[in-house]
């Protein structure tokens, strides 16, 4: 039996590690490419969609603008009307006392033996009454009548009282009326 050295080149064993790595790299790169392409195409579609929506919205906006411009006169009238109504409400809020009703109410409290000569009423609710009373009892009754008007009168001050030679009285009263004395 003869022994010898085989000098012929043997078959190279395959590099499994390299092959595996190459396969993995190819697979990953293909998957990534597919995902990338899907995302890219999706984004393009989305972009086109947004652009067309934007154009549509722009066209609609223009048409709405035109229709609003066409209704300018209605808008002007409405704005003017609202402005006037607001102004009127503000002005009306200023009017706190109806002077006619206030005078009528004060005169309704006049009793026999007393007379109211003058009334001064201001918009802030202050009321000055000057009058005459035949006797002190008449004046007392008149003041009592005023005192009973608690809802209408906030405050009352007997400013002056003068006894005249004939036994009658001149009196002056200052009152603060409730601000809602309107009718």
């Amino acid at each position: 039996m003869s022994q010898g050295i085989n000098l012929l080149k043997g078959k190279k064993s395959p590099d499994y590690l390299l092959e595996n790595t190459v396969k993995k790299a190819k697979l990953i790169s293909f998957i990534l490419l597919i995902v990338y392409l899907i995302v890219g195409v999706g984004m393009l579609v989305y972009w086109f969609n947004l652009t067309s929506q934007k154009n549509q919205v722009r066209q609609l906006t223009e048409s709405k603008k035109q229709s609003i411009t066409g209704l300018n006169k209605v808008e002007y009238s409405l704005v003017a009307l609202k402005q006037r109504l607001e102004f009127f409400q503000k002005a009306k809020q200023r009017s706190k006392i109806n002077f006619g009703s206030a005078i009528e109410q004060i005169y309704s409290l006049e009793i026999p033996g007393t007379s109211i000569d003058s009334l001064v009423i201001k918009n802030d609710g202050s009321l000055n009454i000057k009058g005459k009373a035949g006797q002190s009892i008449n004046l007392a009754d008149f003041i009592k009548g005023l005192v009973n008007q608690k809802k209408q009168i906030k405050k009352m001050v007997l400013e002056s009282l003068t006894r005249l030679p004939d036994g009658s009285y001149d009196f002056e009263l200052n009152l603060i009326l409730e601000q809602n004395l309107t009718s």
Binding site: L18, V22, A25, I28, S29, F30, L32, L33, Y36, G40, M43, L44, W47, L50, Q53, K54, V57, T61, K64, K65, S67, I68, T69, L71, N72, K73, V74, E75, Y76, S77, L78, V79, A80, L81, K82, Q83, R84, L85, F87, F88, Q89, K90, A91, K92, Q93, R94, S95, N98, F99, G100, S101, I103, S115, D117, S118, L119, V120, I121, K122, N123
Partner: protein
């Protein structure tokens, strides 16, 4: 060139190219597109909100009846005139006192500012006071005499006639047989808006408060204003014979 590569590395050529392609095209195309899409979406949202605003406004304006608004505006202009015209309030006061058979003693008016440098109406209505009324107000003094009840009736009616007037102070004297009235009155005016707001400014219809104010103003009595005799006029053209 590919053939010169080591066969070991040649196998990585395709994956590498794909990675490079993804990175390059991503940074050149995809990422800028993402930013563009974001800003586009934001601007589209804004545009949609703007469109919704315009649609609401247009629908509101279309739903309004112009003739109804105009007639309401006309009524309110009778109540709150658009110009500072003392004569209207003056005539109204005269009619009211005539109706109640009062003897007028005196009517005086202080119209205040009636002209501006610019000549624009709105300058006359600059709101300087807190409630914005003082500059749109004219003060009157009205003195009259007559029956006590007629005076009371006049005072009651005064605040429900058009143009709107308001008593701000009263001196009522009944020391003599005939009662005397010394009244301070405010009358108001409000110029029409010169222009309407921007196209996208929202508008609102009349609120319940506005409707209530309108129904109150609708009850105001419009007094017959005595017509003044026309003035005799001369030639229109000075150069004609």
């Amino acid at each position: 060139m590919l053939n010169n590569l080591n066969p070991k590395y040649r196998q990585f050529f395709l994956p590498t190219t794909i990675f490079l392609f993804i990175i390059l095209s991503g940074s050149l195309f995809l990422f800028p597109k993402i930013a563009e899409i974001n800003s586009l979406r934001q601007s589209l949202d804004n545009d949609k909100a703007y469109l919704a605003q315009l649609t609401t406004k247009a629908a509101l304006l279309e739903s309004l009846d112009k003739s109804e608004i105009d007639s309401k505006l006309k009524l309110m202009t009778d109540v709150i005139p658009e110009q500072k015209n003392p004569l209207i309030a003056f005539s109204s006061l005269k009619s009211l006192s005539a109706q109640e058979q009062l003897t007028e003693v005196n009517i005086s008016v202080s119209p205040g500012l009636i002209s501006t440098d610019s000549g624009t109406v709105n300058d006359l209505s600059k709101k300087s006071s807190s409630n914005g009324l003082n500059e749109n107000e004219m003060q009157f003094k009205f003195q009259a005499s007559g029956n006590k009840n007629a005076i009371i009736e006049t005072l009651k009616k005064l605040e429900s006639v058009a143009p709107y007037m308001q008593s701000t102070g009263v001196i009522f004297d009944k020391s003599q047989e005939e009662a005397k009235l010394d009244l301070a009155i405010s009358s108001y005016f409000e110029p029409m808006p010169i222009e309407i707001s921007k196209i996208d400014t929202p508008i609102s219809t009349l609120t319940t408060q506005d409707e209530a104010a309108f129904s109150l103003a609708g009850k105001f009595q419009k007094l017959e204003i005595p017509l003044l005799a026309p003035l005799a006029t001369g030639k229109d053209n000075l150069f004609s014979f």
